[in-house]
């Protein structure tokens, strides 16, 4: 936690005296980086312009031209065919429940490992880390079989349970090291005041590490949202599918024209894009936390 806050503020930046001295080479390099960025956004541009074209217009003007008239039929077709609000709700529900449960379990684990310093903690952390690194294929069929036998197959809860464990494994790994740096004095003070372990966890450790937990929560949400293999395998019926699965299932549909494809891609991007814009700072902080020690 302490480490993370230090990262957020960062070192004070030196005044940039060199801002005005631009050599011609600097302009060349700037253009090169911008060209690279344009290559990166071209697919996004294609999604955006073609989602609003009619199939006829696509046939005549091609993929790169801006739409002449706004045509929502592609988006509408996709929206209705997959019952988009239902898919968004499934994705939100699964991701939200997973992120809350996974953070909760990570906190409990990390409290025992990072603050409680239980015996053998190095191995425990490695065990959790391994659980996160494993290829999901190595668990896929046994889990599939297990969920079938307990009648959780094709139920959103099967996916929720799996990802709670997978994400919590990573959370445990990360939080254990964060809690390991927790100021000892605060814990001692609380302990002397008669606070038990449970109280120390929820009244001291939890409130102080809230910013780190928020980053973790957001990451768990996005990772779960973007997950593909497990939801694809465990959520067979249409009404249980998540947004990415619904889009990929439709892809095999020969009837889908180019503009519907673009429309589905646009609808698939919008939720994550909104999330990205809202939490951009938090995300950058999350990705780079620890990078600057």
């Amino acid at each position: 936690m302490a480490a993370t806050t230090a990262i957020v503020t960062g070192k004070p930046r030196r005044p940039r005296g060199g801002m005005t001295k631009k050599r011609p080479l600097d302009w060349v390099l700037l253009v090169a980086v911008i060209l690279g960025a344009i290559v990166i956004v071209v697919p996004f541009y294609l999604i955006l312009v073609n989602a609003f074209k009619s199939p006829i217009e696509y046939a005549t003007s091609g993929p790169f031209a801006l739409p002449q008239a706004i045509d929502l039929s592609g988006i509408e077709k996709f929206w209705n065919r997959v019952n988009f609000p239902e898919k968004v709700w499934n994705s939100i529900f699964i991701s939200a429940v997973v992120s809350v449960l996974a953070v909760l379990i990570s906190v409990l684990n990390a409290f025992a490992i990072g603050i409680g310093r239980v015996r053998g903690r190095t191995w425990i952390v490695l065990l959790f880390l391994l659980a996160n690194l494993l290829p999901q294929e190595a668990l896929l069929y046994p889990l599939y079989y297990m969920f079938k036998s307990v009648h959780l197959y094709d139920n959103v809860w099967s996916v929720i349970i799996v990802f709670t464990v997978v994400q919590a494994a990573f959370g445990t790994y990360l939080l254990s090291s964060v809690f390991g740096t927790f100021p000892k004095e605060i814990l001692e003070a609380a302990s002397l005041d008669g606070a038990g372990r449970w109280k120390i966890l929820w009244r001291v450790v939890f409130p102080i590490s809230r910013p780190t937990l928020a980053v973790l929560l957001i990451f768990f949400f996005i990772w779960t949202w973007n997950e593909f293999l497990i939801p694809l395998t465990f959520l067979a019926s249409n009404s249980n599918q998540t947004v990415p699965v619904a889009i990929s299932v439709l892809q095999g549909d020969r009837l889908m024209d180019v503009t519907t494809t673009a429309g589905s891609a646009l609808l698939g991007i919008i939720p994550t894009l909104i999330f990205f814009l809202i939490f951009q700072r938090t995300l950058t902080r999350g990705i780079t936390a620890g990078a600057v020690k």
Binding site: D26, L46, F128, L229, P244, A265
Partner: protein
């Protein structure tokens, strides 16, 4: 790279501060590791085990038991109905002589090129340019904006990326790429239907998806470089490349380590892009182990054999992780000894 791993790898950078033993460098300097953090009144640290209970139970049921079950399945022939039939080492004998299996592993090397080698090299250059040239000469806002642009594909669900790419590289004249070529007078290409273009397209997509992650991590790392070091080197007549290799690279080496480790693991596990873009085709040319295992499970219903492929993949991932973590800690030991 499954979708999880992509994002997962993004945040695993967070653990840049973390050693293999799960303690950060700070933890070591601040707290002697063997000393309990709180004065223990009674029972030592034993009471903390209760807090691990829910996590352990879940880990056991969802990870450990299925993993053991999966290893057991490698010794069986099973169609998914009735009970598995024990066949000893047949699956293991088969896996090492299976040409498709070797193809899938050779393709894994290509995935490592596309997800580790190229993104790390390009990422280093772009991050250095954004930080050094764009950030300093044109303002931090321009730099952050471009950084966010490069990061954009990372937030895209891979299924969505897949359908967009599938459509851009559609065969015939309706695909965006072929239309572009048409303008230049080049006849349409069946991008995903033949080799080597199918593999190259897949690799290009993975570079596109991955590139933002190293850039963001490396740019953060660059903030740690003391500008005075640069100025001194500049006065000594070092050119940009000399400064980059001597100062920048050595300072941001921990980040390079984290990025290469997490991306290598993601590359070995890659599934989503192959599933949505090429389905392993044409004729198995873009087959990867994860996709191969998946088809054995759910298309051919050779559960035992699929489990064997998945197990080999798991062993490989574990070996790679151990090699990386060991290399990193020995490097650090050397550094500390040198200081």
């Amino acid at each position: 790279m499954s979708v999880l791993t992509r994002a997962e790898s993004a945040a695993r950078a967070e653990t840049g501060a973390t050693r293999a033993d799960g303690r950060s460098r700070k933890a070591r300097t601040k707290l002697p590791p063997e000393e309990p953090a709180i004065p223990q009144r009674k029972g030592g640290t034993a009471g903390y085990w209760l807090y691990l209970l829910p996590g352990f139970v879940l880990l056991l049921v969802i990870i450990v038991i299925p993993l053991i079950f999966n290893v057991y399945l490698t010794f069986t022939k099973w169609r998914g109905v009735r009970s598995p039939e024990f066949i000893g080492l047949d699956n293991w004998a088969k896996v090492f002589t299976d040409e498709d299996f070797w193809t899938s592993f050779v393709n894994s090397i290509w995935m490592v090129v596309a997800m580790v080698v190229l993104p790390t090299i390009i990422g280093l250059v772009v991050a250095a340019l954004l930080f050094d040239v764009v950030g300093r000469k044109f303002g931090g806002k321009v730099g952050s904006f471009l950084r966010a642009t490069y990061y954009l594909p990372q937030i895209l669900p891979i299924a969505v990326a897949g359908i967009v790419i599938g459509w851009i590289f559609r065969p015939g004249a309706t695909g965006a790429m072929n239309q572009l070529l048409g303008v230049l007078g080049i006849p349409p290409v069946d991008w995903l239907g033949q080799m080597p273009s199918a593999l190259l397209v897949l690799m290009a997509v993975l570079v596109w998806v991955q590139i933002g992650y190293p850039i963001v991590v490396f740019m953060a790392a660059l903030q740690r470089v003391d500008p005075e070091l640069y100025e001194a080197a500049e006065l000594d007549g070092a050119n940009w490349f000399q400064r980059f290799s001597a100062i920048t690279l050595s300072i941001i080496r921990p980040e390079v380590f984290v990025v290469t480790l997490t991306c290598t693991i993601a590359a070995l596990k890659v599934f989503g892009p192959v599933y949505v873009i090429t389905q392993g085709g044409p004729a198995g040319a873009t087959l990867v182990p994860a996709y191969y295992a998946y088809t054995e499970f759910f298309t051919k219903r050779n559960i035992g054999y699929g489990a064997t492929i998945a197990t080999v993949l798991t062993i490989l991932v574990v070996i790679v992780s151990i090699i990386f973590i060991r290399a990193q800690s020995s490097l650090e030991r050397k550094e500390r000894a040198g200081l």
